[in-house]
């Protein structure tokens, strides 16, 4: 077959990325990454935004940022004589605004600081954006977010356990945990500000990571339906086929998801300098990329590990290996019709459907799966 795209060859099993077979490699990679992430979290900690730490943040537009701007504004704020504003953090944002961060202020103090900043940069006080956060607000939104998170995870575990099986739910959750720790770790290491928008981003990663895993598990389940009734294919191989068959989807979906997020990031960071859009998009961008990786490289191998502990699956693996050991001639396997699940004969011998290249024990199980499905009467295995 000429001019075959990668997607076609992945689907047909002609090209198979040994994802499940190399599980240990991915585990190792992820373990190292997670160790770094944990190290960053513990060593550096998260740079919490004003919404979590409590305090005031005022942003004023500036016509032309001069070298003296920061000093002028800082001096003006200190001159108010307010205790909480005695050591303000003044930074230039983008090229047309200046940001002042202080401790928590009362309404009167806010007015005073606002007026001082307005005078320093020569704009009307109404032009200044301000946010004053009480000291316990961060605790409250964190608690609420964690509560929502807990309930969501519980619901997802129940849902996946009913719709699929608990082992899939467990594997999906580990992948999810992986994504969040990794993303949060990057935040700690790079020192990005964590704002409520970032938290929204983290929460969305949870949803996306699970969503992505569900799509792959759906295919794995289809491939492994009734798998113990034959002895051509181990669970690991069928699962690996599923990942490979959905690999193009995973790539396409993550690209399609990353494109709009990337455009928010670009517009948010490039045009606005900072703010909700940028914070959110940054968390999402990292999270979606990691989420796609973990669905493919962590969730599925984990699922296989869990399934291999089942006696029936372990028995299947032994049967398949025994059969392969006895059948020394590889082409015997390629030409013989595999046993069909459900007893129905395969509908169509099709030499065109390619003779998979058999090399060692990396089987190309695609034909078997198709045959199983056809054995079910050509209907989707529902």
């Amino acid at each position: 077959m000429t001019r075959q795209s990668l997607g076609n060859r992945l689907y047909r099993g002609e090209v198979s990325v040994p994802i499940v077979q190399n599980a240990r490699r991915w585990y190792l990679v992820s373990a190292i990454l997670l160790a770094i992430a944990f190290g960053g979290l513990i060593g550096r900690g998260l740079q919490l935004g004003v919404e979590f730490s409590g305090g005031a943040e005022l942003t004023a537009p500036v016509e032309q940022v001069a070298d003296s701007t920061v000093g002028d504004v800082r001096g003006a704020v200190i001159a108010t004589g307010i205790g909480e504003a005695a050591d303000p953090r003044v930074t230039v944002v983008g090229d047309d605004s200046v940001r002042v961060q202080t401790g928590s202020l009362t309404p009167d103090e806010t007015t005073a600081v606002r007026d001082a900043v307005a005078e320093a940069v020569d704009v009307a006080p109404e032009e200044i954006t301000a946010q004053v956060i009480g000291p316990s607000w961060g605790d409250q939104i964190t608690r609420q977010a964690l509560l929502g998170l807990g309930m969501f995870l519980l619901a997802v575990v129940v849902f996946l356990s009913i719709a699929y099986e608990w082992k899939m739910a467990a594997a999906a959750l580990v992948a999810l945990f992986h994504d969040v720790v990794f993303t949060v770790g990057i935040y700690a290491l790079v020192g990005f500000d964590v704002t409520p928008a970032t938290v929204i981003g983290f929460l969305t990663i949870l949803g996306y990571s699970l969503y992505d895993t569900v799509v792959i598990f759906d295919k794995v389940r289809e491939n492994t339906k009734g798998i113990t009734a034959q002895n051509q294919l181990t669970y690991a191989e069928a699962a690996n086929l599923g990942v490979n068959q959905t690999l193009m989807r995973s790539i396409n979906t993550s690209i399609i998801a990353l494109l709009p997020i990337g455009s928010i990031l670009f517009v948010g960071a490039g045009l606005l300098g900072a703010g909700t859009l940028k914070d959110l998009a940054l968390a999402l961008f990292i999270g979606v990329a990691v989420g796609t990786y973990s669905s493919v490289f962590i969730a599925t191998p984990l699922l296989v590990d869990l399934k291999n502990r089942e006696p029936t699956i372990a028995g299947l693996t032994r049967r398949v290996e025994a059969r392969r050991a006895s059948a020394k001639a590889p082409q015997g396997d390629a030409t013989a019709e595999p046993a069909a699940v459900g007893g129905a004969p395969p509908r169509r011998p099709s030499p065109q459907r390619g003779s998979p290249v058999e090399s060692g024990d990396r089987r190309q199980p695609q034909r078997q799966t198709r045959s199983q499905r056809r054995g079910n009467g050509g209907r989707p295995a529902r």
């Binding site: 000429t2 001019r3 075959q4 795209s5 076609n8 919404e51 537009p61 309404p107 806010t110 007015t111 006080p125 109404e126 032009e127 200044i128 954006t129 301000a130 004053v132 956060i133 009480g134 316990s136 607000w137 409250q140 609420q144 977010a145 309930m151 969501f152 619901a155 719709a163 409520p196 928008a197 938290v199 929204i200 969305t204 949870l206 949803g207 996306y208 969503y211 992505d212 799509v215 759906d218 959905t246 989807r249 396409n252 399609i256 998801a257 990353l258 494109l259 709009p260 997020i261 990337g262 455009s263 928010i264 517009v267 909700t276 859009l277 979606v288 509908r347 065109q352 459907r353 989707p380």
Partner: protein
């Protein structure tokens, strides 16, 4: 099989067309074509108040409802226009006003609302001076629109509290304080110090006559030790009230009910020990006088909620307020009294001001990001899926139309406002929506690789993809639902649009993308698997197609039908 199982794609497409016509017809009828924008997009001040009980506990739902009413009255009284007051979670009240620099407003809404019992000194029906006001000076007993209930000793009198000595609280009442009465009218005039009880002095009467309930401000101006000119909740009567005899924390509890053997709803009041003494003293002073001097007003946050008359001194720490209460009225009064017993404190948790300039630039940036993101998704779809990319385009347009209509209508119906986080949710949803198409198209292409005809592949591919789409969208909906229910502030706006767009995604995939593909599969371009259709069996490597004939239909269809 192909003919027997023939899909009827026009039916779902018709349903979708009806849905769109219905949505946009409704919008046209309502006449407002723009979504309601959040403060971060149009500028304004947002004050999030966290409510706490005096001991730092979580307030009850009833108290929160009461607190929202109180804050609404305060904000409206302050003259700020277009304020929106909502609750978030179980303890937060969010006040949003379109103006910036409202530091005074923060102070005003952040105060604790107090409940006080004040003796009534004069009542005038009507919320404002009559145009030719000479008659209005005469108090009109009993004719007010507010029911005038009576407070009587409760059936269960607790004897232990009876006959106690005069407490300090009453000393304040019997010894008039020299502080002038703080009148909440725009131009407050001091009331003569000694006359804080009994019939009004001429000056006080003049002030009361001139008072307009429209100018009533509540909150800070309610000094318990001074006389007060105020109005009832509806602004239909004006009152001159004496200094507070009993305060909210003197109330132990209150409940509404129908006493045994009676038919009318009453409110039962139970005082603390100290409150019982104060209340006995107060009722002793009131009993025997003529209306309105025999009435006391129950004042919450500076507004008269009820003013029962007293016929006899009420000892024992329990009282019953009876009158022609309906059940809701009695329950509302009991709620007010209970609220007063445990007044909530409000801590300003998040005070944000966004200037309209910044809001507009955020909106602009959000829209720009959306357009760029959409464009990139389209470009990628066209490159990868060729002809099918156009289906992606059309589907996203339909999804956009549905989402926009939903946001506009939800703004009208439930006051949904679009925030930056919400816009981000929508942009993220472009990816999730497009993924449904990706899953579907990949399945269809898998089926073509299997050797099925394009028409068959669309149907069987759909059956497989449908399940995946439903399962994965269910996870998205779970996420949106739990985030919405349990989170506060910005997260909610995001969760809402995420949930909304997930539902829109389902509608679009089921009612548009799938039927559209079924229709297109009948066309020559897609059905025969043109090289640019994205469904070309040759490019997809279907069996038996080694680059020559592209007559996809016949053999594949034959072998696929059992």
């Amino acid at each position: 099989m192909a003919s027997a199982n023939a899909p009827r794609p026009w039916r779902p497409l018709g349903v979708l067309a009806l849905l769109l016509v219905g949505l946009y017809g409704t919008i046209a009828l309502l006449g407002d074509w723009t979504p309601r924008l959040g403060l971060d997009l149009r500028g304004g001040t947002s004050i999030t108040l966290s409510a706490k009980t005096p001991d730092g506990g979580t307030p009850s739902d009833e108290s929160m409802v009461q607190a929202v009413d109180i804050i609404r009255a305060r904000v409206n009284g302050s003259g700020v226009a277009e304020a929106e007051i909502t609750t978030q979670g179980s303890t937060n009240i969010v006040v949003q006003v379109p103006d910036v620099g409202e530091d005074e407003l923060v102070q005003l809404v952040g105060q604790t609302a107090e409940l006080r019992f004040r003796p009534v000194r004069a009542v005038i029906e009507g919320g404002a001076p009559a145009p030719a006001a000479t008659e209005a000076t005469t108090p009109t007993p009993g004719a007010t629109s507010t029911p005038t209930p009576t407070a009587t000793p409760a059936a269960a009198v607790s004897p232990s509290a009876a006959g106690r000595a005069v407490t300090e609280g009453l000393a304040a009442q019997t010894t008039p304080t020299p502080s002038p009465s703080a009148s909440p009218s725009p131009a407050p005039t001091p009331v003569q110090p000694p006359a804080s009880e009994g019939a009004p002095t001429p000056e006080e009467q003049a002030q009361l006559d001139a008072f307009d309930c429209a100018n009533l401000q509540t909150g800070s101006l309610d000094d318990p030790d001074a006389s007060l000119i105020t109005c009832d909740e509806g602004g239909t009567s004006r009152f001159l009230l004496g200094p507070a005899d009993v305060v909210g924390t003197d109330v132990n509890s209150a409940s509404a009910g129908i006493p045994q053997g009676e038919v009318q709803w009453v409110v039962n009041l139970d005082f603390t020990d100290e409150g019982a003494d104060k209340f006995l003293e107060s009722t002793t002073n009131l009993a025997g006088q003529t209306f309105p001097l025999n009435a006391f007003a129950i004042v919450l946050d500076g507004r008269v909620v009820s003013f029962p008359t007293v016929d006899e001194p009420i000892p024992g720490g329990s009282a019953r307020i009876s009158g022609s209460f309906t059940q809701p009225e009695a329950q509302a009064l009991a709620t007010v009294l209970n609220y007063g017993a445990l007044p909530l404190t409000f801590e300003p948790s998040d005070v944000s001001t966004v200037t309209p300039t910044l809001g507009a630039s955020q909106l602009e940036a959000g829209l720009l990001a959306g357009v760029i993101g959409l464009g990139l998704v389209l470009l990628y779809s066209l490159i990868y899926y060729r002809g099918l990319g156009l289906v992606v385009f059309a589907s996203l347009v339909v999804a956009g139309l549905l989402t926009y209509a939903a946001i506009v209508l939800l703004g009208e119906a439930i006051g949904f406002t679009l925030t930056i986080a919400g816009i981000a949710g929508i942009i993220v949803a472009i990816g999730i929506t497009a993924d449904s198409f990706v899953v579907f198209f990949e399945r269809v292409r898998d089926e073509i690789r299997e050797g099925r005809s394009v028409r068959m592949a669309v149907e069987t591919g759909w059956k497989r993809a449908r399940r995946t789409v439903l399962a994965s969208d269910a996870v998205s909906l779970f996420a949106a639902f739990f985030l919405y229910v349990f989170s506060v502030a910005n997260v909610r706006g995001f969760a809402f649009t995420l949930g909304l767009t997930t539902i829109v995604d389902l509608i679009v995939v089921f009612l548009f993308t799938k039927p559209m593909l079924s229709v297109l599969a009948r066309s020559r371009f897609f059905g025969a698997g043109h090289a640019w259709s994205g469904l070309d069996p040759v490019r997809l490597g279907a069996p038996g197609r080694t680059g020559l004939g592209r007559r996809a239909g016949a053999p594949a269809a034959k072998e696929a039908s059992p």
